[in-house]
């Protein structure tokens, strides 16, 4: 007999996992046959995100497999705090508060250029032609990775994220595969870091190498994390956004008339169709944790179903309705607690600009297939292709 969670992992469930999430929530803390626990209700998720008895350090991780140390997403305080703060010094407040805000003109320029390039086509793949190139270009420029190397690191990145899909092999095999790929990616980034030491530029890598206290290994692990996360998640948020808007023509029409509505649209998307459906990496309990009448024993692996929590009817009124006007939308789209998404402000702005411009400039857009074909990944969910036909494109 398969559990609800196992059915969710089944790639066939990707187009609409939400009915399965509802089933999952019937047991807020559900023990799996392998002894791990899946948590799917809002209150319980928020509680775990702030619970210091929950560790992000995977117990089976074997650092010797890879040249790279673990990035901060897989560490606990104080190491997590120290490394995240070092990275933040160059990315945002308190030391670099205006950095992301200053990217708005450039991001707008990229969006405008991408849409300009689609004029006259009549039919496009929103994923490959729009949702993917925007965040990749932004993260490359911000981090300091040559855009032309994209075929190279795209492959590494795909391999790395496939290793967090529990459906793609045993834990040991996936850990080994991730370690090997990270080693390659690390070598690649190491070369770039050396270059930045010689010729500093206005990018994150240059900032990172300028930090005395940032060991080279940690610096490379952080950069690898940002590169992978920066272009495997926002692509799905944008694609999910275009899909959702095309399924809700009134919302698309309003965004067309009212571009200032974009922030609310994006927040609701993060609740309604989040790109990160489950927290990855997995967590584990450092002590027995009592939650919703269940004791998660010390050492147990914990899977947190963020997307199920954001559709919890006990927290959100009419949760399966796409309603950007909903008040008090404290969604779980970016997680919470100390591991709250590092790149959230970047993802938000990119998606706000992309969706507002899509709504403004595409005339008569319509879905070619609904549902579209999906990437198989259960945690990082989004369409593989999103074919859209349209009548015309408004000049910029």
């Amino acid at each position: 007999m398969t559990t609800t969670y196992e059915r969710i992992l089944d790639h066939a469930s990707r187009a609409d996992p939400y009915p399965l999430y509802a089933e999952l929530r019937e047991t807020p803390v559900a023990r799996q046959p392998d002894g791990s626990y899946v948590v799917s209700t809002y209150r319980e998720i928020v509680s775990l995100l702030h619970d210091p008895r929950v560790s992000s350090v995977a117990e089976d991780q074997d650092a010797r497999l890879s040249d790279l140390p673990q990035p901060f997403i897989r560490l606990d305080p104080p190491d997590h705090d120290r490394l995240r703060r070092l990275a933040m010094r160059h990315f945002g407040p308190p030391e670099s508060p205006g950095r992301i805000d200053a990217l708005i003109p450039r991001m707008t320029g990229i969006v405008t250029g991408l849409i300009d390039g689609l004029a006259g086509r009549g039919k496009v793949d929103i994923v490959d032609d729009f949702a993917y190139p925007l965040p990749v270009t932004v993260i490359c420029e911000l981090l300091g990775v040559p855009r032309e190397d994209e075929p190279l690191f795209h492959q590494w990145s795909q391999t790395i994220i496939s290793t967090i899909d529990p459906g793609t092999g045993s834990m040991a095999e996936r850990t080994r595969r991730r370690a090997l790929t990270l080693t390659e990616l690390g070598h690649y980034l190491d070369g770039l870091a050396d270059e930045r030491l010689r010729r500093p530029a206005d990018d994150l890598l240059s900032g990172f190498v300028s930090e005395q206290e940032f060991p080279r290994g940690d610096l490379l692990a952080t950069s690898a994390l940002l590169l992978v996360a920066g272009h495997e998640t926002t692509v799905n948020l944008i694609a999910n956004g275009v899909l959702t808007l095309l399924r809700h023509p009134h919302a698309l029409g309003r965004l067309h008339r009212e571009p200032g509505w974009a922030p609310a649209v994006v927040e609701e998307l993060l609740r309604y169709e989040p790109p990160v459906q489950f927290l990855a990496p997995l967590r584990h309990a450092l002590a027995d944790i009592e939650l919703a009448g269940v004791t998660i024993p010390r050492g147990a692996v914990i899977t947190i179903a963020l997307a199920a929590g954001s559709r919890d009817p006990a927290r959100f009124h009419d949760p399966d309705r796409f309603d950007p006007d909903r008040v008090d939308n404290q969604h779980l789209g970016f997680g919470g607690g100390i591991h709250h998404c590092f790149g959230a402000p970047l993802a938000r702005l990119e998606t706000q600009l992309a969706l507002a411009e899509f709504a403004r400039r595409f005339i008569g857009p319509r879905l070619v297939a609904d549902p579209p074909p999906y990437r198989p990944h259960p945690f990082l969910r989004g369409p593989r292709h999103l074919l859209v036909e349209f009548d015309d494109i408004v000049p910029a």
Partner: protein, 533 residues
């Protein structure tokens, strides 16, 4: 536009500081300061920031730009039929939030707000932080409103009396204002320097009102030389922090043996002392100021200390705590005194006999209420978050039937930003006999300290670690054992449980002399006797 961030909710995610960097600024890792009255050119960015807040802690007026229309709630329970005239005395945070709650719950009768200050109600926390450093003007801290209140305002007028039997508030201009339900939200005021002549010296300040802040800011901007801060509670410490940020030399004099010791105990107070000294504060503990001295033109020049030393200073900020505004209730028959106004958990005021009234409510700094988690002790909290939460409960109860009433049971939460550190507390730290650092390290100024009373956890205080406090809040609410005995991230190798070093708890009703008269139950009465001074 007007902005206020509910820093009780804020966990320092910093999303606002990314998205509107000219309005929201992080000091250190998680202390947020912001411009409460940003220019309209920042509107788009502020709305983005508000939408992005992971804990939805931002209140902005006219939120329609984002389409976030607040819909009226259905209300809870029935409004008792006779309530059509609500009067609120005190038009600051608690009074304003109470009025907003009444309207949100669908109450359609009249609301009268009586305040002794002119101008719109304003937010106080910025006064000791961004106003002193010049990031914001004292005049620009008005509280935002999510919707029109439709209230009658009586401003610049002081309430001077209350006639409980006639249900009337008396005003200093001779007016009488009748009510069906009254909310007492008159708050507190700064305790002045006890010697009136010394207090009148040019250069001696208190900090409570917008005007106080404007005056002090103007003087600090003139580079007045050394600033003497008398009292190292939260206000005094924040003033010292702002002065250091301005590059001014600062001496802090504290009677206790550490700053913040009165609220957080001596162990954590010692960490606060190190923090102050690291930032260049000349901190003198276990000492009091015995006299302030001026020159022949009446300008402050120095202070004399109890240890015989003198401090040359051009400015003295008297930060000796607050006194509750209860004088206007004298003779009203309510249980009002230096301790505040006693009330039940539903915010209904007690009369002097300890009988609960049914039409007079209390909220905010002036209220003293029982909290079941703290052995039903009566607490008076001068916290922003308490004013908001209690005002909502009071307003709800004013217009609800008996069965639909709420109890004010929220755990106290407060915060303070000083010297680049966000200090945040949940629970009641003074209700403790032991304390232990359970996460992080005091040496790094990043830690969580848990407080225990007789083996159960009663409070937690975080320095730069606010995101963990939700967990400790749950522990406190469940009366979990102290010290925590489980493994957690960032746990020190050995948890050292120390005596909390709390100042001796003084009975809040000290000085209240009550005479009970009569013999039979129907004639027994308590009468408050004014202390002879």
């Amino acid at each position: 536009m007007r902005v206020v961030v509910d820093l009780t909710r804020c966990q320092g995610y910093g999303q606002c500081a990314f998205l509107a960097p000219d309005v929201f600024t992080m000091r250190g890792d998680e202390a947020l300061v912001y411009e409460p009255h940003p220019d309209d050119s920042q509107r788009e960015r502020v709305l983005r920031a508000a939408a992005a807040c992971p804990v939805q802690a931002m209140v902005i007026d006219e939120v329609n730009g984002l389409g976030r229309h607040r819909r009226p709630a259905d209300g809870h329970g029935r409004t008792p039929p006779l309530v059509e005239n609500v009067v609120i005395v005190g038009a600051s945070l608690a009074g304003l939030r109470a009025a907003a709650t009444l309207r949100r719950e669908g109450y359609e009768g009249s609301v009268t707000l009586i305040g002794d200050e002119l101008g719109d109600p304003y937010d106080r926390p910025p006064l000791s932080k961004q106003v002193l450093t010049g990031l914001a003007d004292a005049g620009e801290t008005a509280l935002p409103l999510r919707r029109a209140l439709d209230a009658d305002w009586i401003r610049g007028v002081r309430a001077t009396g209350l006639d409980v039997a006639a249900r009337e508030v008396l005003l200093d201009d001779g007016r009488k204002v009748g009510f069906d339900r009254l909310l007492i939200a008159t708050g507190a005021r700064a305790r002045p320097w006890p010697d009136a002549a010394q207090a009148a010296l040019d250069g001696v300040f208190v900090l409570r009102t917008r005007e106080d802040a404007a005056r002090l800011r103007a003087r600090l901007a003139d580079r007045p030389g050394r600033v003497l801060v008398i009292g190292a509670g939260f206000t005094g410490s924040e003033v010292a922090s702002a002065c250091r940020e301005l590059g001014l030399p600062v001496t802090v004099v504290e009677r206790d043996h550490a700053p913040l010791a009165g609220s957080l105990g001596g162990v954590i107070g010692a960490v606060a002392a190190e923090l102050q000294r690291e930032h260049g504060v000349d901190l003198r503990c276990g000492v009091t100021v015995t006299a302030l001295e001026g020159d022949d033109r009446g300008r402050l020049v120095r202070a004399r200390l109890s240890d015989g030393e003198t401090v040359e200073a051009g400015v003295a900020v008297v930060a000796l705590g607050a006194a509750r505004n209860v004088e206007w209730l004298e003779g009203s028959g309510l249980a009002a005194g230096v301790w505040g106004v006693g009330c039940d958990a539903g915010c209904r005021a007690f009369d002097v006999n300890g009988l609960v009234t049914d039409d007079i409510f209390v909220a905010g700094d002036v209220a003293r209420f029982p909290h079941p988690l703290y052995q039903y002790q009566f607490l008076a909290l001068e916290h922003w978050g308490n004013a908001v939460a209690q005002a909502q409960v009071a307003a709800h109860n004013m217009i609800s039937a008996q069965t639909g009433r709420w109890a004010h049971l929220s755990l106290p939460v407060f915060w303070s930003a000083q010297f680049g550190v966000n200090i945040k507390s949940v629970g009641v730290p003074t209700f403790a006999d032991q304390v232990a650092i359970v996460q992080g390290s005091a040496a790094d100024r990043r830690f969580v300290a848990a407080y225990g009373y007789r083996g159960r956890i009663t409070a937690a205080v975080a320095f730069g670690q606010a995101m963990w406090l939700e967990f400790y809040q749950e522990l406190i609410e469940r009366a979990a054992p102290f010290p925590p005995d489980f493994a957690m991230v960032d746990r020190p190798p050995e948890i050292q449980v120390l005596p909390a070093e709390m100042p001796e708890r003084v009975s809040p009703a000290q000085g209240a002399t009550v005479v009970v008269t009569g013999h039979d139950p129907d004639e027994r009465r308590a009468v408050l006797v004014r202390p002879r001074s």
